[in-house]
């Protein structure tokens, strides 16, 4: 069958008119009259005992319907993989920005006025400022209840300590390899936590209906996850909860899991029949709601003199902040992929998710891989230096390929991407072999860097996706899935997959743009770059099911066996006599004979997918198969440093990635370019800046510097297509991966330009300037 009919075309996005017309309604554009507004009091301390919370003045303020503190829900604990977080702080606050009290009033102005009347007093406690602080002997234990928290079995907390999860990888005999290795290098690499800074701040609007059902509309990537976790956290059965996920104004992992919904729902349950809106202001979105984890790491590499890696010894300490949230799985994902995309026969790795008194961390684009990649790529650079070897050549020599095993001992199957091809493409784009460092006539220095990455989705072994396909009178098809539109444009990929399967013009395929747990087929979460793959498989299944049904119905009026029928261009026809056929519109809702007799009825195609052959990990060795598919790629940059003031700019960036099959080239490129830009921000400017008491100093978009127009480099994107045998038309996910290699590539290039190994992020002008000064006597 010819698969090239619609795949590989780049039709305009279906949401383009709504988005460029300002007509798309995000969650906060749907506030009904009569909605109550909630405001929160946030902790000004990173660590403190709550001495008192006096709500009386707030309760008496105009328009106020109620005021609440942690004491209102004395037993409720919410969490994603581990229930460790009270909806409002009780007894202690564990981070700057933690919600302490809530006020609900008729208008937002009234609630904001009233929240200032809440009188809370605190007794400050010394804050834990880093994972190493938290692991030091005698450190305060931030979660004394750690042993009793509800959790999933894959998470292994260490009660009595600040370790929320530890994942061990033990492969081969690293001790022996280090003992006999001719070359050993070691380095420590770190960066502080930061924020997603999606343009849409988080918002949840909850209503406890007079019918006893709870409905929450939320800026979430995870409507079904929210439903399940609300059911667990609030003690309501799933059937009494409805979660609606309108298109999201940027996710990047920050809206996966469960966020504002539980508190919004708890407040709404106090006011049956009236919706309660809980919306983050930007500052709260940055520090009170979760950001991304920070990292402290040490990597040792043992190698032969020719560069062949013998062993790695890796310690990854994730700064999870005050609560575990997604970070316990981020650290686990980092362990699964800890070596990066290289053949490493002997591995010892410990990935720890550590509680600190920082804002808590959740999923972030790259999910553990950006962190591990930065650490291992930096260590590889030290090795290349030690060996006097070209850093790209070192990576080529050790590139992981089918047949090799991952750190967990899983064998890389033939679907695994072609990393050497990706490295070659990036080298070509950057003119790698023309020299990596150049002194410019104006005194600036240009330097190049290259890093590799891989990523497997960190998902439950039973991660699923469902899809249905129905038809309208005009013969057009509508696909319904549980996928959330977060900017990635997955619906346009799904539309092309369905169009291809139905051999129908894409303009005749519509994808339902809103996920609703009452109506959409179940779908794990829009995360882990798995929607195109998994919902794509389900969509393909639904289309094939619909085609079979259409043929069955049409075979009667066309008086032929169904297997003689073909579908295409909106018709069902005899394969060997295409003129003899029927339009889909005459069959999809049932066929009507001339005398009025009807057969068939509405066709509904059903499709489903569930992850194949995944298993958990052995708690001692990590052995198992937790990774569904491995996407590989290489990235590189050329940047320009002014040694006089440390200012540094990425001029060109290149990414080559093996995506299996490109479904929608323009959107695929957009995902990679956006991820590269985010990676540049991650590496050069984005991180929280803490004061001595661990308060966040840059919780606004004025002080937290994102890339702006004109600071963007030239982008080069290349795709390699090694088909994913079980992906829809051979496709793999590609939403996150483009960010992963950027910090490593930029750190390598900046280190080369500066003449000093830079082991921290973000690589700001100040950091560059002081590092260069330190090197000089």
């Amino acid at each position: 069958m010819d698969h090239a009919r619609y795949l590989g075309g780049s039709p305009e996005r279906t949401d383009a008119p709504a988005k460029t017309g300002g007509a798309l309604r995000y969650t906060d554009d749907r506030v009904r009259p009569g909605t109550l507004h909630a405001a929160l009091l946030y902790s000004p301390y990173a660590h403190a005992r709550i001495a008192s919370v006096d709500l009386s003045r707030a309760e008496a303020a105009p328009g106020v319907r109620g005021a609440f503190s942690g004491a209102d829900w004395p037993d409720t604990l919410i969490g994603l993989y581990m229930g460790d977080k009270p909806p409002l702080a009780r007894e202690t606050v564990r981070y700057y920005g933690e919600p302490v009290a809530a006020v609900v009033a008729d208008s937002e102005a009234e609630t904001l006025a009233a929240i200032r009347l809440v009188e809370a007093s605190f007794e400050a406690l010394p804050p834990l400022a880093s994972p190493r602080d938290s692991l030091a002997p005698g450190a305060a234990v931030l979660h004394p209840g750690l042993g009793s928290y509800r959790r999933i079995p894959a998470i292994l907390p260490e009660p009595g300590t600040n370790v929320a999860n530890r994942t061990r990888i033990r492969k081969g005999d690293p001790e022996e390899a280090f003992a006999r290795a001719p070359v050993v290098v070691s380095g420590s690499f770190s960066f502080p936590p930061g924020d997603h800074a999606a343009m849409e701040p988080r918002v949840a609007i909850a209503e406890y209906g007079l019918d006893g059902r709870l409905t929450v509309t939320s800026s979430t990537q995870s409507p079904f996850g929210v439903r399940t976790l609300l059911a667990k956290g609030l003690g309501l059965p799933e059937r009494r909860i409805r979660v609606i996920a309108p298109p999201v104004g940027g996710g990047f992992g920050g809206k996966a899991g469960i966020q504002l919904e539980p508190l919004a729902c708890l407040l709404a349950m106090r006011f049956p029949g009236r919706p309660v809106r809980l919306a983050n202001a930007r500052e709260a979105d940055m520090v009170s709601s979760p950001g991304r984890p920070g990292l402290e790491s040490t990597v040792r590499i043992a190698a032969e003199r020719d560069g062949a890696i013998l062993a790695m010894d890796i310690e990854l300490l994730f700064d999870s902040g005050a609560y575990a949230d997604y970070a316990v799985n981020v650290s686990r994902a980092a362990a699964v992929a800890c070596t990066g995309p290289y053949k490493v026969p002997n591995v010892k790795a410990d990935a720890l998710c550590v509680y600190t008194n920082h804002p808590f961390a959740t999923a972030f684009r790259g999910f553990g891989h950006i962190e591990l990649s930065y650490a291992t790529e930096r260590a590889l650079d030290l090795l290349a230096d030690e060996l006097g070897m070209d850093p790209a050549a070192l990576r080529e020599k050790n590139a992981a390929q089918p047949g090799h095993t991952t750190p967990t001992g899983a064998v890389l199957d033939p679907n695994t991407g072609d990393l050497p091809a990706c490295i070659a493409l990036v080298k070509e784009r950057l003119g790698w072999d023309e020299g990596r460092r150049r002194l410019m006539p104006d005194g600036k220095v240009r330097a190049k860097g290259l890093a590799c990455f891989w990523k497997a989705p960190a998902i439950p072994t039973f991660t699923d996706a469902g899809a249905t396909l129905a038809f309208a009178e005009d013969g057009s098809a509508v696909l319904t899935t549980g996928v959330v539109e977060i900017g990635q444009g997955c619906f346009d990929g799904l539309r092309l997959i369905v169009a291809e399967a139905l051999r129908m013009d894409p303009s005749m395929v519509r994808v339902e743009p809103e996920a609703d747990t009452d109506r959409s087929p179940h779908d794990w979460t829009t995360a882990a770059s798995r929607s195109l793959f998994m919902a794509g498989r389900a969509a393909l299944g639904a289309a094939e099911d619909a085609v079979a049904q259409l043929k069955r119905v049409a075979s009667a009026p066309l008086r032929c066996p169904e297997e003689d029928l073909e579908i295409g261009d909106g018709r069902i026809y005899l394969r060997d006599d295409p003129a003899h056929g029927l339009p889909i519109s005459a069959v999809a809702l049932g066929y009507v004979y001339e005398n009025g007799n009807a057969i068939g009825g509405p066709i509904i195609g059903r499709g489903r997918y569930i992850a194949r052959g995944l298993s958990g990990m052995d708690p001692e060795s990590g052995e198992g198969r937790p990774g569904l598919e491995w996407t590989m790629g290489a990235e590189g940059v050329e940047l320009e440093l002014d040694p006089r003031d440390g200012s540094c700019r990425v001029l060109r960036s290149a990414c080559a990635m093996d995506v299996g099959k490109v479904i929608h080239p323009a959107l695929a490129r957009g995902q990679l370019v956006g991820a590269m830009a985010m990676g540049i921000g991650y590496a050069t400017r984005e991180a929280f800046s803490f004061d001595s008491r661990q308060g966040v100093q840059n919780a606004s978009l004025r002080d937290y510097k994102l890339l702006r127009y004109g600071e963007d480099p030239e982008y080069f994107v290349d795709f390699v297509e090694t088909p994913q045998g079980d992906g829809p038309y051979g496709a793999r996910g590609l939403g996150e991966q483009g960010i992963i290699g950027m910090p490593g590539a930029i750190a390598q290039a900046a280190s080369l330009a500066a003449g000093v190994q830079l082991c921290e992020l973000p690589i700001t002008p100040e950091y560059l300037w002081t590092s260069m000064r330190k090197e000089r006597p």
Partner: protein
């Protein structure tokens, strides 16, 4: 100078229509547009003037509506994204993938509309100065850069094809 206290009725000209709304003296234009006039195109990205998602035109000048009080806009001509209809800049953002999640897009487009009007010729420095006031977290600005070029090209072609106003019969 007029003094305002408590709720009062404000009359505005928005997207070519006369509109009236009850407002408070402290209400920003952004909140008035979104909450009282139902124009939710302008977005609350930061309400601090940093992100530009709320950009509208006031008498043709791109302005962050979170930084303006509604009361200041009495008698002004306001244009929000809803007031554009199939503008070449909108078409260019659609065709060139100048958006992903779309949340920054209404503000980005309003700023771009004013930019290409003020600078019909490609002008990298002007583009950087103007568009630098709007944040996009998704695109890496590549599609937006392409969209600006495409919009200018279409506007130039249109100017070349259509006779200038004074030449019209």
């Amino acid at each position: 100078m007029t003094e305002r206290k408590g709720p009062y009725e404000l009359r505005l000209r928005v997207n070519g229509e006369e509109r009236a709304a009850l407002t408070r003296p402290a209400e920003t234009l952004l909140r008035l547009l979104r909450e009282r006039l139902g124009l939710t195109g302008p977005k609350c990205g930061c309400e601090n003037g940093d992100c530009g998602a709320c950009t509208v035109l006031i008498d043709g000048v791109p302005t962050k509506s979170c930084m303006v009080l509604a009361v200041e806009c009495e008698g002004r001509e306001l244009t929000t994204i809803e007031g554009l209809r199939d503008h070449p800049v909108q078409r260019a953002f659609s065709a060139e993938n100048g958006f992903q999640c779309g949340f920054c897009t209404p503000g980005m487009i309003m700023n771009a509309v004013a930019l290409v009007r003020a600078h019909p010729e490609p002008n990298e420095e002007a583009d950087r100065n103007w568009m630098g006031s709007n944040l996009c977290r998704c695109t890496g600005y590549e599609g937006i850069r392409r969209a600006l070029a495409a919009a200018r090209a279409e506007l130039a072609a249109r100017a070349g094809l259509m006779p200038r106003a004074k030449e019209r019969p």
